[in-house]
């Protein structure tokens, strides 16, 4: 953790553009980050870029003081000890249960086999959702396009993040249940949250002020 300034963990991927726009409004020069998509560490701007699911790891260990990532990532990594300071509002998506359109595969499996098989990149969110709704679920962790799993008979349904539902419908799937709405969150390392309290508070105030 450097003394002088806050190091920010910035997620590449869907939240990247909105996050850089936010940093621009806060007076951080993001021109170099925008123009260079291979470089990962931008010392002058105090920015490190990474995949969203790595942001809590870097922030928990203090390799970055603060970071921005999706609520989906935080729900999937609840053991990460970080402060969740602000809902930034952008990057809005739904975590949903989806299944093949029209044939109630989930309900059928539940009734006749006593359990559902669910494919997902979010095994902990999926497990928790089915446990909370009193259903037995066999969670199948997949890494790539989850939409494929129910189409090939690997699973009865999926738990995945969707913004518009288009990828789902193009693959003949439909949303069966909504689990939780996810947006971008500002998180902070617990030690930085005390030792750099004034800088973190100033940043939080400016983001709040800019929104109202």
């Amino acid at each position: 953790m450097r003394e002088a300034r806050l190091t920010v963990a910035v997620p590449r991927g869907a939240l990247f553009g909105d996050t850089l726009d936010l940093l621009d409004r806060l007076g951080v020069d993001t021109a170099e980050v925008r123009s260079n998509d291979r470089k990962l560490l931008f010392e002058d701007a105090g920015i490190v870029t990474m995949r969203p699911s790595d942001v809590p790891t870097y922030v928990e260990h203090g390799a970055a003081d603060i970071g921005i990532t999706g609520k989906d990532v935080l729900l999937e990594a609840p053991e990460r000890d970080v402060y969740e300071l602000l809902d930034l509002g952008y990057g809005r998506c739904e975590m949903v249960v989806a299944a093949r359109s029209g044939d109630d595969a989930l309900g059928e499996a539940q009734r006749r086999l006593g359990r559902v098989r669910v494919g997902t990149k979010y095994p902990r969110i999926a497990e928790r959702h089915f446990a909370e709704t009193g259903r037995q679920a066999e969670i199948v962790a997949v890494k790539g396009s989850v939409e494929l799993a129910p189409l090939t008979g690997l699973v009865d349904g999926i738990v995945d993040l969707t913004a518009t539902g288009r990828t789902l419908s193009e693959n003949g799937l439909e949303v069966v249940e909504e689990i939780v709405t996810c947006t971008a969150r500002l998180i902070a390392n617990p030690v930085a949250h005390k030792l750099k309290a004034d800088r973190i508070d100033a940043l939080v105030e400016r983001i709040r002020g800019g929104r109202e």
């Binding site: 003394e3 390799a63 969740e84 300071l85 030690v191 005390k194 030792l195 309290a197 004034d198």
Partner: protein
């Protein structure tokens, strides 16, 4: 051939061991000079003993049966075994007692989390002393001992484990809503906390207080902003306690090394008053922590007020190595 050791445990080789020894000697020496005598308790305790101290057995992760079928647990914390020791070995002995320790504790870790399963703690317990003077003694000694171990930029974050609960009581927040709010606080999820406070439908002053208190960090001025027109004396006891503690620390010349943090909550349930954590800018995790636990020893049958602190030696080592590089 690979002969693995469990994730989160380590072999220590001579170069590192020499440095670890230097740190434990510096910490232990400072404790000894301040009148804290070292004690040793077994790494294995009856699980029931740990449960007597904390309903969750202080997060003990490893249990086994002994030859009589009794459940044993590897201690996950040093304070509960010392509370047991005080209540049994020092029964009837007048306080205050000053005890220190250096030993390993054990916790379950998530795979790939980089956390330690077995960790060496040096710490101290001041037993039979009430009030801010006792807490100031422990905090000041912690800061000094770390100076002697070679740290220079470390700070103590200071809060009160009962403060937020007292506020919720004072504002008549319904019983069933309090648990979820306190959970948000201990999970450091201020977004959900804000949302749940919103849902309570309190008048604006009370709402702002509940949202703002966890964000209040800094010097003595923090206490005034929590106690001002908004607080109107709701958590007077906790705030007065912190005020007295800051005063006692400033008499020891230590007040500027302490950061008040009114949202600070520690995971262990036995803390009853002041709680603190130790930070160093070179390490992303707290180096250690502690607090006041006035009810704990009483659960073993010998009620005495007490407070203490535990330091994670490996993290202190990381901070000390970083400090050496700076110089």
């Amino acid at each position: 051939m690979i002969h693995p050791i469990p994730a989160g445990t380590r072999d220590v080789l001579p170069d590192e061991m020499r440095e670890l020894r230097a740190i434990t000697a510096a910490l232990g020496g400072a404790f000894e000079r301040a009148g804290y005598g070292e004690v040793l308790t077994p790494a294995l305790e009856y699980e029931e003993v740990l449960r007597t101290g904390d309903a969750n057995a202080a997060g003990a992760g490893y249990r086994m049966f002994d030859e009589q079928g009794q459940v044993l647990a590897l201690r996950s914390d040093m304070t509960i075994p010392i509370a047991r020791l005080v209540a049994t070995r020092f029964r009837g002995v007048e306080g205050p007692l000053r005890l220190s320790y250096s030993g390993h504790a054990y916790r379950a870790v998530a795979h790939g989390s980089g956390q330690q399963r077995e960790f060496l703690q040096n710490g101290l317990e001041l037993i039979g002393a009430e009030g801010a003077e006792a807490e100031a003694e422990v905090i000041a000694l912690t800061l000094t001992a770390l100076d002697e171990a070679g740290l220079a930029r470390h700070r103590v974050g200071l809060g009160d484990g009962a403060l937020y609960r007292t506020l919720l009581d004072g504002l008549d927040v319904p019983e069933e809503r309090r648990g979820p709010l306190l959970d948000c606080l201990s999970q450091r999820d201020l977004v959900t906390l804000g949302r749940r406070v919103e849902e309570l439908g309190l008048e604006p002053g009370a709402r702002d207080l509940l949202v703002r208190v966890p964000e209040l960090r800094g010097g003595a001025e923090v206490l005034e902003s929590a106690d001002g027109p908004l607080g109107s004396g709701l958590a007077r006891e906790a705030l007065d306690g912190l005020r007295a503690l800051i005063q006692a620390l400033s008499e020891r010349g230590m007040a500027d090394r302490v950061i008040l943090d009114l949202g600070l909550v520690l995971e262990l349930s036995y803390y009853t008053g002041a709680v603190y954590e130790v930070y160093d800018p070179a390490v992303g995790f707290a180096l250690g922590g502690g607090g006041r636990y006035d009810d704990l020893i009483g659960r073993f049958g010998d009620p005495r007020p007490a407070c203490g602190v535990a330091l994670d030696v490996q993290r202190v080592h990381i901070a000390q190595a970083a400090e050496e590089r700076l110089q």
